[in-house]
Subunit: 308 residues, 2 copies
């Protein structure tokens, strides 16, 4: 069995960590959102790639859900003295990843190549692919105008009203090498419990990816990131509303309607199963909240069990 | 009185710190060597500018003679994991300076502008000027071939034989804005006790700087960095030999012969005073070893006393 996953940040990373407990990690390819990549102090920061990488390498700061465990912020403190913006937190250890990535990109390597170098260096056996080697920028329309995703989420703490979400330059971006193949040749595709609009949405916006999802013979199963009428974390709720989707597993099913086979929804949303099924998507009920390593593995087992 | 100093790293920074105890710091302009600037992980590092800046700001790590006091090396440790070269030590706090400089240069600012921003941000009242806004690279010819200065000094620990020293691109570099004016309009010019070949040499190699030293009405006084037949610190000895100069205050006098008025040499070299005088340079004997803040100030007083 070869598994291919579509992933955003924290929720995805937990599911993938559980998955690597159950399957051979080298059988997994992860396609990661880079729509919220951001330049900080001239450094190329890829938050979702880093969260997946740090989590699978056992380096993640579990409390924050981003960055490296036990990191310090000494460089950041001096940057404040020098008058630079410091609302995007970069720890001293974490900086190495961004310095490495920025330097290797400047040397002419692609984001795919650099991402692969980093995951190998930190001992990850699964393949990690950025959705594209071209820059796609997720933009959020607020009453203050269009903001880059990190400005909306981190600088403004996700508080502003969301009127629309767009994927800047997605029309001209191409899937990164290996992305389409990983979908076409997978035994199963797993859509992680990530924000359908700002995590999975940018991946789907790249020409060719939805087509390969629609064309693949492999079953495609998604885990709903919406439980009990609200996202488990993050701003998925207001973004789904802005896109005219209900904030429920039904909205998730609608977002993926063109190609999704199975949706795993939480036990507390079991009443919505029939509505999901009416979209032609099989609904499976499970405990989807990942509180610890054990519940991550339980959810993974429930997901794998529904695969034909 | 307006003072202009030519400076390299550690020795210069100590004298300048002493000077700022005796004169009004805002009356001082420092012209700093940038021939040993170096790229580390894609970051623009200016070791002499930083040593002068950190010393005058009270931030310097006194034990090392470079970097910021009480710094940590967490980013560097991760860089090693990622397979990057780590022979050039960059601390976590220190990194902020290089990130700031690199980002501001990338935004189109000149090294002069960025250097001025940094010194203001850390509360320095003296002006600090790079010798040039163009990149000049000091190169050292060794039995292994030509090495960049930092490769010779840090990576190879200054151990290799020196056959020649060159200042790459010095012919096309121009003095940074304010450099020639600072020399022409000074009441006195002080050449700090820095390596005549690799610290002061690159400054002198830039077209127009030696001419303005030769033309200025102001007295020019140098402090010998060579004491008792050896440099107080660093590789000045083997570099002077490679340039055909004796490793003594006489060699320093010869290096600056075209425009130097007064050379301050150490008491233990007093026997060489007459030989210096025979070059048409006034020789003044003083205690030149700066062991602590008090001896820094004593040396400064001795230097200022010889000025007309």
């Amino acid at each position: 069995m070869k598994y291919t996953a579509l992933a955003g940040g924290t929720g995805a990373a937990k599911l993938l960590r559980g998955l690597c407990q159950v399957i051979d990690p080298s059988d997994l390819t992860v396609i990661v959102n880079t729509g919220d990549d951001w330049m900080v102090w001239g450094l190329s920061v890829s938050p979702d790639l880093d969260t997946v990488t740090y989590t699978l390498a056992g380096l993640i700061d579990e409390t924050q859900g981003w960055g490296i465990r036990d990191d310090t912020f000494r460089c950041l403190a001096v940057m404040a003295t020098l008058g630079r913006e410091t609302w995007f937190n970069l720890g001293d250890k974490d900086l190495a990843t961004h310095l490495y990535r920025t330097d290797r990109l400047r040397e002419g390597n692609t984001l795919s190549q650099v991402t692969d170098e980093i995951r190998r260096r930190v001992g990850i056996r699964s393949r990690i692919l950025p959705m594209s080697d071209q820059r796609v920028a997720t933009q959020v329309l607020t009453p203050d105008g269009w903001l880059a995703f990190q400005e909306f989420l981190v600088r403004e703490k996700g508080r502003l009203e969301v009127r629309d979400v767009a994927y800047e330059r997605s029309e001209s971006a191409r899937p990164a090498p290996g992305v389409v193949d990983a979908i076409s040749h997978a035994s199963a595709v797993i859509v992680c419990p990530s924000n359908p609009i700002s995590s999975i949405g940018p991946i789907l916006a790249i020409r060719g990816i939805q087509d390969s999802l629609a064309a693949t013979q492999a079953p495609i199963v998604a885990v709903s990131p919406i439980v009990g009428g609200a996202p488990v974390s993050g701003p998925a709720g207001k973004m789904m509303l802005a896109k005219g989707l209900p904030v429920s597993p039904v909205g998730v099913a609608q977002a993926y309607e063109k190609w999704l086979d199975i949706l795993v929804l939480d036990r507390q949303d079991s009443a919505l199963a029939s509505e999901v099924q009416s979209l032609g998507i099989r609904a499976v009920v499970a405990d989807t909240i990942m509180r610890d390593r054990q519940t991550e593995v339980s959810l993974v087992r429930a997901v794998l069990k529904v695969l034909p």
